[in-house]
Subunit: 640 residues, 2 copies
C-alpha cells in the first residue's frame, strides 16, 4: 500500500509532525503544544485560529463556508486558513505553514507586583536545628520519641501534638545516625515532614502561585525573611485547549477522560516551568522548597486537582470542593521537595474561587469597618462588597473582551499592542495612539479597548446606545462601512505591522457593552442586596493584571463600574498573587482566609429579580439611569 503520510512543518521554527488523511491542522497544533488562539475549541465559530499555508495547499481540503465568512478577502489571497477547518485531503506530501503574531497566544506583559499591606511573618513551615541525644543503655527511647521530645522542648509544641510523616519515619534511624544526631527538622504545622543533615535552617523556601485561566504567576519566597527571591509569570499552557474557562470545560466534555488529564498536565507543566525558572534565577534547588500555596478560580483549582469540571458548567453550577486543602505536592507532581505540602485555598462559591479569597486577603477589606468593593477584572470578574462584618461576592461572566478577545483586532498586552488612544474631539480623524514598547501596532489591548468607546462617546461618534452615528460616515475618513456594518479605523495598514487596517467595528462596541454591563450589573446588584449606595463605599480596590493599566477616567465614562470618586479607587495589582504570598508567610493569614470564606457569601447573580433589567440598563453608556453617573454625564454633556 502506498504511504500517504503527510509531513507538517511549522515555519520558521522547524517543528514538525506527521499527519494522515482526515487529520485537522488544529488538532495537530494542539498535539504539538503550540498555543494556537481559539475561543471555540476548534468548532469554527471564533475565526481566531488563522494560519498561513506556505506550501502544500493542494493536499488540503477546499476553503469551507465558515472560512469564507470569517476570513478577509486579503487574507484568503495570502493563503490564510482557519486551522480548525483545514484538513489533509490527500497525501503524501508536505505542508509548511506560518503562524502569525495574532494567531499565537503570546506571553502578556503580566502583572506580578501587587500592593501589599504589612503582615507579620509567621509561616506554618519552620526549620528547627536539633542536637538529638543518642541512645544509651540508660536512655532506650525509640528514635521517634527521642526526636519528638527534644523537638517539643525547642518548639514549645506539646509532644502529643507532634508527629512524623510516614516517609520520614521509615528512614528515621538512618537519617539520625548518618547526620551524627545533629539534624534540622522541617516542621509543617505540627508534623515533621523532612529531616536534613546538620544545620540547614538558613534555607527554607516556598512557592506562592496564582493559577489564572490566562496567566500564571509564581513567587519564590524565602520563608525565613519573607522576601520574594524571584518571580516569574507564564501563560497558562491550557490556553491551547480554549482561551476561557467555558471553552476548556467544553474541551473536556466533548472528549474523553484523557482530556481532563491533559488539562491537568498543562497546568502542572506551566507551574513546574515557573518553579524551574524561579529556582534557576536564585540557585535554589527543588529540594529546598517545602510548601506551595496555590490560588485560582474554582475551575482552575478543580482542573489542577484533576476534578472533572462538567458539573461546574451545569446550573446551578456547584463546585465540587470549597474548603481549603493540604496534600503532598508529590501526589500532583510539582517541582519541590518530595515531602512538600501543597495548600489549595478555599473557595467562596460558583466561580468565585481561591484567587478571590486571596485578593480579599491582600486588600485587607475585611479588616476594617469601612465598606469596600473589590473588583478583580478578568475573563470572569469577581466582585466583593463588604467590611469586617462580612460581605457578598458575585462572579460576572464579563468575558475576555478586556483581555483583547472577541474584539476583531484585540490582542493581549504584548509588544505592539495599542495601549491608549486619544481622539481629538474637534477633528475625530485626528487620533493619537500609544503602543507597548513603541512597536508598530499589531492590535488593541485591554486598556485601549476601554479608551476607544470612551473617546468615541466624547467625540460624539457613537451615542449612549453604542451605535455609530451614520451621519458622520461621509464626514469622517476613519468611519466607514465594513463587512458587518460601520467601523472606525484606529490605524491605517501602512502604519501597522499587519496586512489590514486596524479597525473597531460596531460588533466590537457591542462586545464592550456586554462586558462592561456584566461587571456593572454585578456591582450594582451586590449593592442592591446589601442596600449600599455609591456614596456608602469608602474604598474601591481594582485588581487583576488588566485593572492596573486602564485609564479610570475612560472606565468611568463607559460605566464599567459604579461611579465612585477617583480618590477612593486603589489599584492593587495582582492581588491574588499577593494573597497567596500572605498565606504562605503567615499562619494567621491562612486562618483568616478560612474566615473570609465563611464571612463572604456567594450570591448567584442569575437569581436576582432585577438581573435582566439592570443588565440591559447597564449596556448603555455610561448607564440608562444617568443619576447614578452624574460626573460622567457632565463630561459627556448628557442631560440628567
Amino acid at each position: 500500500m502506498e504511504d500517504k503520510t503527510v509531513l507538517l512543518l511549522i515555519s520558521p521554527s522547524k517543528i514538525k509532525k506527521s499527519m494522515k488523511i482526515g487529520d485537522s491542522i488544529f488538532d495537530a497544533l494542539i498535539d504539538m503544544n503550540i498555543p494556537i488562539r481559539s475561543l471555540c475549541s476548534g468548532r469554527g465559530r471564533c475565526g481566531h485560529c488563522k494560519v498561513q499555508i506556505l506550501e502544500g495547499a493542494k493536499i488540503l481540503n477546499y476553503l469551507t463556508q465558515t472560512e469564507h465568512e470569517l476570513l478577509e478577502p486579503e487574507e484568503i489571497d495570502q493563503g490564510f486558513r482557519l486551522a480548525c477547518q483545514t484538513k489533509i485531503s490527500n497525501g503524501p506530501g508536505t505542508i509548511t505553514l506560518a503562524l502569525t503574531e495574532r494567531s499565537i497566544i503570546h506571553t502578556q506583559c503580566l502583572q506580578l507586583e501587587g500592593s501589599t499591606r504589612d503582615i507579620t511573618l509567621k509561616p506554618l513551615l519552620k526549620k528547627i536545628f536539633l542536637k538529638v541525644p543518642p541512645p544509651t543503655l540508660e536512655d532506650i527511647r525509640s528514635d521517634e520519641e527521642r526526636l519528638l521530645q527534644i523537638l517539643h522542648k525547642q518548639s514549645g509544641i506539646e509532644s502529643e501534638e507532634l508527629s512524623i510523616k510516614f516517609d520520614v519515619k521509615i528512614k528515621l534511624s538512618e537519617i539520625l545516625r548518618c547526620s551524627k544526631w545533629e539534624v534540622t527538622v522541617v516542621l509543617w504545622e505540627n508534623q515533621v515532614i523532612s529531616i536534613e543533615n546538620g544545620d540547614t535552617t538558613d534555607h527554607i523556601y516556598g512557592i506562592a502561585c496564582d493559577l489564572g485561566s490566562t496567566k500564571v504567576a509564581g513567587y519564590l519566597i524565602d520563608l525565613k525573611t519573607g522576601a520574594i527571591m524571584s518571580q516569574i509569570a507564564e501563560m497558562n499552557k491550557q490556553v491551547s485547549c480554549g482561551e476561557d474557562i467555558i471553552s476548556r470545560i467544553s474541551y473536556v466534555i466533548n472528549g474523553n477522560k484523557s482530556r481532563l488529564n491533559h488539562l491537568q498536565n498543562l497546568a502542572l507543566s506551566t507551574i513546574n516551568e515557573i518553579i524551574k525558572k524561579c529556582c534557576e534565577k536564585t540557585s535554589i534547588s527543588y529540594e529546598e522548597i517545602y510548601e506551595i500555596v496555590l490560588v485560582g478560580n474554582t475551575c482552575m483549582q478543580q482542573l489542577f486537582l484533576g476534578i472533572d469540571p462538567v458539573y461546574l458548567s451545569k446550573a446551578p453550577y456547584p463546585p465540587t470542593l470549597s474548603r481549603s486543602l493540604n496534600l503532598p505536592s508529590k501526589l500532583i507532581g510539582l517541582n519541590s521537595n518530595k515531602n512538600a505540602n501543597l495548600h489549595i485555598a478555599p473557595i467562596i462559591g460558583g466561580f468565585v474561587g481561591g484567587d478571590c479569597v486571596a485578593a480579599i486577603l491582600a486588600s485587607g477589606m475585611l479588616l476594617s469597618d469601612e465598606i469596600s468593593i473589590c473588583i478583580d477584572i478578568g475573563t470572569n470578574t469577581e466582585i466583593v462588597l463588604g467590611n469586617n462584618g462580612g460581605g457578598n461576592a458575585v462572579s460576572c461572566a464579563s468575558g475576555p473582551a478586556f483581555e483583547g478577545m472577541h474584539i476583531k483586532y484585540g490582542i493581549r498586552a504584548a509588544p505592539g499592542a495599542i495601549s491608549s488612544i486619544k481622539i481629538n474631539s474637534n477633528d475625530p480623524d485626528d487620533i493619537r495612539i500609544r503602543t507597548i514598547n513603541n512597536d508598530k501596532p499589531i492590535g488593541l489591548c485591554g486598556s485601549a479597548i476601554v479608551d476607544i468607546p470612551a473617546e468615541l462617546l466624547k467625540a460624539g461618534i457613537i451615542n449612549e446606545f453604542g451605535t455609530y452615528n451614520r451621519d458622520l460616515e461621509t464626514e469622517l475618513k476613519r468611519l466607514r462601512k465594513g463587512k458587518t456594518g460601520l467601523e472606525y479605523v484606529i490605524a491605517w495598514k501602512k502604519d501597522t505591522d499587519l496586512i489590514t487596517d486596524i479597525v473597531f467595528s460596531q460588533a466590537d462596541i457591542r462586545e464592550i457593552q456586554k462586558a462592561k454591563a456584566a461587571i456593572h450589573t454585578g456591582a450594582a446588584l451586590l449593592m442592591d442586596i446589601m442596600q449600599c449606595k455609591e456614596e456608602d463605599i469608602d474604598h474601591v480596590y481594582l485588581a487583576g493584571a488588566f485593572g492596573c493599566y486602564i485609564n479610570p477616567e475612560s472606565a468611568c465614562l463607559i460605566g464599567m463600574y459604579p461611579e465612585i470618586p477617583q480618590k477612593k479607587i486603589e489599584f492593587i495589582g495582582n492581588a491574588a498573587g499577593t494573597g497567596a504570598r500572605f498565606m504562605i508567610l503567615s499562619k494567621d493569614q491562612r486562618n483568616f482566609s478560612k474566615i473570609i470564606q465563611k464571612k463572604v457569601k456567594y450570591y448567584e447573580l442569575a437569581t436576582h429579580p432585577k438581573f435582566q433589567e439592570e443588565y440591559i440598563s447597564s449596556t448603555l453608556f455610561p448607564h440608562k439611569d444617568l443619576n447614578r453617573f452624574p460626573h460622567s454625564s457632565t463630561i459627556l454633556k448628557m442631560n440628567l
Copy 2:
C-alpha cells in the same frame, strides 16, 4: 559453549528450578519459597536444613566438615545433606531431592482463640447512610459542604472536624450524582474515606492481625456486630529467611537492601493470603474491608513497614518508632479497599512491641488494682508486671527451644509431634507418650519439651543442675552415651516415623535450662525492681500459642516462672490477636492501648545489677534458691 544448566527437582511435588555451577541448594529453596528450616540463615551452624538427595549426588560438592559434624552417620548413609553446604559442582544434570517432615517448617497447630473480657462495640470505622439534598439555585453549596453538613447532622460530629480524603474528593461530584444523592459514607474517625452507592451500612468489615515471627493470625471482623466472621492462621513466610528475629536481622544485614524488601514482601504476602482465605470463606470482598489493625513485636512491625532492623540489633537496641500509626493500607499493598486505614499498634520498648500492648489490653490487667503478671511465651518472651497504677515490661531472649527449635528432635506442634510424656518413677525405662493426632512420633513439641526435664527430675535421672546421672547409665536402657554425651531415648526408632531414635540429649537439657532461666530471670527481676513478691501477685496470665498447651505442673517443677499457686494462673491464648480485635472494635480500647504504652515502662534486663547472678541461679531446676519454690521442692523431695 556447552550448556551446564542443572535442573533441581523437588520430590514428590514436581516443583523445579534451573541452577548453575556454584549455586547452593539452600538459596535455591529460598528462591522457590520453600520454607526450609534454618536458625542460622544458611551459615552452616544449626544443622536444620537437611535434605535427602535422591538423584544427582555426583554433580554436587563433597560433604563438608560441617556436615560430618552435624549429620548422623545413618543420615549420611541415606543421602542426607545440609542444603546450605551443598552446591552444584558440575553440570549439566538433574538433582532430585526430598524434603523430610523435619526439614520443612510446618503449619503448626496455631492458636487462634483467646479468652476475652467483654468490651463495648464502638469502632472508629462507621458507615452512615445519607440522603444528600441536591443543589438548586437556592442551595448552591459545594458538593463537599452539602455532604459534610448532612453528615454533621447525622453523626453529631462538628462540621469543622469532618473532612474528606483526597482520593474521594476528586470523584465526589460524580459519585453523588451516579448514586442519585443516596450514599453511604465510610467514616474513619472524622474523615470520609469512601462513599458507596446506596445503603451499604450492613457491610462493614475489618481485619485484626497478629503478625508473629513464626505464625500470623488474622480475624475478619464484622464491625456492625463485633462477630468474628472467619479466622485463619498461617506460618509467617519470613521463616524461610531465618526462624527467629535475630536470624532475620542477620539476613538483612548480610545482604543488600533488596533483602529488607524481600522480608517485607513475605510478611505482606502472608497477611494477604490470610485476608484472601478469610474473604473466600465468607464471600466478603476486599472492597468491603476498610480497616486493618496489625500488632507484632517491634522487629515484626518494623520489617512490615520496611524499616531497616539493623539498629534493633545493636546495643542499646532502640526501636525506630514507638507511637501507634495510621497509614493508607494501599501504601503497603494489603488486600483491602483502596482507601482502607492500616493501624499499627504502639510499641513499649526494645522488642516489647504492639503484640505485648495488645496482650495487656486483652488481659485487662491494667484495669484492676490487683497485681498481675502477663507472660507471653514465644521466641521472645515478653513479661509485664503491674496493675492500674502502671507497670514494667521486659523482653527475654528465651529462644525458640519451647517451639521445638535448638532441640535435636524438637519440632513445632504439628501432627506426629510428641505432646506429653510421663516417666514411671519406679521404672524410668517405662514411659508413656502422647502425640498430636495420635500419629507415629516424628519429634518433640513444646509441651513435651517442658514435660521431659520435669519427668527426668522427678525420676532422679537428672539432678538440679540438669545433669544426667551417670550412675544410671548401666541401669537404664533408655539412658545411653550419644555423640555429644549422655542422652535419654524418648521413642525407639521402630515406634517412630523416623530413621533414628528420638532422644533428649544433655545439650537439649542445657537449651531448656537457658530458655527457662531467661524467662524466670525476666520475671524475677521485674518483681525485684517493683519490690513485689510471689505472694503479692493476684493473677498470672499465660499467653501465646505455646502457653495454652503446656502442663503448668511441669512448668512449675522446672522453674519456668515464679512459683505462684495454680489457681491464680489463667491461660489467655492468643492474647495479642484478641487485643488486636479489641483495637478494631473499639475506639476506647484503641485509646487505652496508647495509655498502656505510656503506663508500662520498658526495662532493659541487661542493665539490672543482679542479672547475671539471677540468670545463673535460674538455670538450676527449679532454682538455686529453693525458698522461692517451696511447692516444687516438696514434690521433687529437695531439701529447702
